[in-house]
Every structure is written in structure tokens, then in C-alpha cells.
Symmetry: C2
Subunit: 166 residues, 2 copies
């Protein structure tokens, strides 16, 4: 009973078992277009915004607050839209584009397992301020070039609690 969580016959193989609770495509757009992009996804696809986390310390000259993560509901899935910010990205070097956020309780084990399977960890596992809706985020690139942000779901509520622009 003091053993780590084991699923799907993991005991026989003595392998690390990691459970994921959600997959969220994250669309990273050139700042400050995330707000405009959110509006587009509402109009084009009927997405519903359920939360938005913005950067508290933004440059005075910026017209729009930097969107760390806007959370949209679309066809039963969650889509995240973020501004790409070179100086304040929670995990440096995320780059613009489409990545996949994978939520898990055990970020370290999940990253280690992905790396053991052939992915390449990029950067350190770090505290996030919400880009992937997670408390801690690790980034891995898989052998096919796709980027997975492995994050803890603890801060998911933060997205929901943040100012919602309806």
C-alpha cells in the first residue's frame, strides 16, 4: 500500500507508470495577437473562453496585456492560446507554433519516461506562471519534432479564476 501507484499491469514490468489527465493543444501566437486570435476562434468555431491568465508585470508601453494562457472550450476539448513573449516565457525557447500540453500529477516521472522512450528534454522543469495551465512544466521534443509541454494540473484553477473576457 506504500508502493507507488500502479496501473495496467505495470507491476510485472516494473516500469514507471504515469497517468495523464488532459491533453490541451496550445496555440502560441506572436504577441500581442493572442487576444485577437481568441476572438477569431470564438467567431470561426464558436469556442467559449473559460479563463485567461495575463502577465501581471507588463511593459508600460504595451497596449495589450500579455496573455500567458487563454483557455477555450471547443467541442469538449480545451484549447490554449498564448502570446509568445521572448522575455517572460515560463519555459524559455518555447517558440511559436502548436504544441500539446499534457497534464499529469508527476511531471518529473512523465518527462523521464518520455526521454527514456526517445524524446529530448528541452530546458529544466520549471515553475510556470500559467502558460500551460500548470504549476510545473517540463518541455520535451519527440523524435518526430512535436513539442509536448508536460505540466502539473495544480494551477488549472488559476486559469479559471483569472479575469475572463466574455
Amino acid at each position: 500500500m506504500a508502493q507507488p501507484e500502479i496501473h495496467n499491469g505495470g507491476a510485472e514490468k516494473a516500469e514507471v507508470v504515469v497517468s495523464f489527465t488532459a491533453v490541451k493543444p496550445q496555440l502560441v501566437v506572436e504577441a500581442p495577437k493572442a487576444s485577437e486570435a481568441v476572438q477569431f476562434y470564438k467567431e470561426a468555431f464558436g469556442a467559449v473562453e473559460t479563463g485567461r491568465t495575463t502577465h501581471p508585470k507588463r511593459k508600460a508601453e504595451q497596449e495589450l496585456p500579455q496573455i500567458i494562457s487563454a483557455q477555450l472550450q471547443l467541442a469538449g476539448s480545451t484549447i490554449l492560446v498564448s502570446d509568445l513573449a521572448d522575455d517572460s516565457a515560463p519555459v524559455k525557447g518555447v517558440g511559436s507554433g502548436l504544441s500539446l500540453c499534457l497534464e499529469t500529477q508527476d511531471v518529473e516521472a512523465a518527462v523521464a519516461k518520455a526521454v527514456a522512450a526517445g524524446a529530448v528534454a528541452e530546458g529544466e522543469i520549471a515553475e510556470s506562471d500559467g502558460a500551460c495551465c500548470g504549476g510545473r512544466v517540463g518541455k520535451v521534443k519527440d523524435p518526430y519534432g512535436f513539442v509536448w509541454m508536460i505540466c502539473s494540473p495544480s494551477a488549472a484553477a488559476k486559469c479559471g479564476d483569472a479575469g475572463v473576457e466574455a
Copy 2:
């Protein structure tokens, strides 16, 4: 009662209302690496393959059948993995990379609405042989560079019915 389906107060605005039933990230990899990629996602993330559609007419010299679409379940979402094939892509010019499949009953209306909101349609709406698990597929690129494959869900069962490699 003979009126078209109306949701969310669409009647007042007389706008086209389109419902989406699923969002599925589609990972398109250089052929013939899709099979290897599926194996990777199983090992790295514990994804479970629930269906695979392969091309019936493949080149004799090819060692592996072209994977039109392998359907994986991961954390309650469906992820599609496909081989990029220049000569047999159901929608030409899909390109490798990560796109988002959006399932709807009304592909034409969904594409038209996305275009009206600012997306650019790429190519014609065409019958698919399963790349996006759809009967018909239209491709649009949104103003932020992301590609959405808008497809009918009618052929979703096809993926499940196809040979499953466990």
C-alpha cells in the same frame, strides 16, 4: 420544426450555427515513420491505439503500409498520427506538422463560417479516405498560421473498424 438546427440564440443574429463534436490533434510525420511514432506515443505517454486506417493500394516496394490515420486515446482525447504521402494525401498539400481536426456534421457551413471570420480555405472540400477520420474534409488556415481540418464524423467508425495493431 422544419428550421435548421439553432443553438445559443443564433436565431436573433441569423448567423450560421455550426456544432463541432470533437477536436483531434493530428500529427503528420514523414512516411513511413507513423508506425514508429505510434509506438513511441504508447511507450512515452501510455497512449492506446484504438484504430488504424492504412492505404489499400500501396507501392510494391514499400516495406510498411502507409498509415492514413492511426487513432490513439490519450488522457480522454483522441490524437491522430498519419504518414505524410505526397501522392495520395486525401487533401493535397496538407504538409507535415501538427494540425487540428474539427469534426462537424456540416463541413461546408463550418468552412464558410471560418472563412467569413478570416481563415483562408486551402483547396476544395473533398472526400477523404480517412486522414482526418472524416467522410469529407475541408482545410482552412487561420490568420495565425494554424491549420484546421474540418471533417464530417461519418467515417470515424472506419478508423475503429480498421485493423488495429495492439
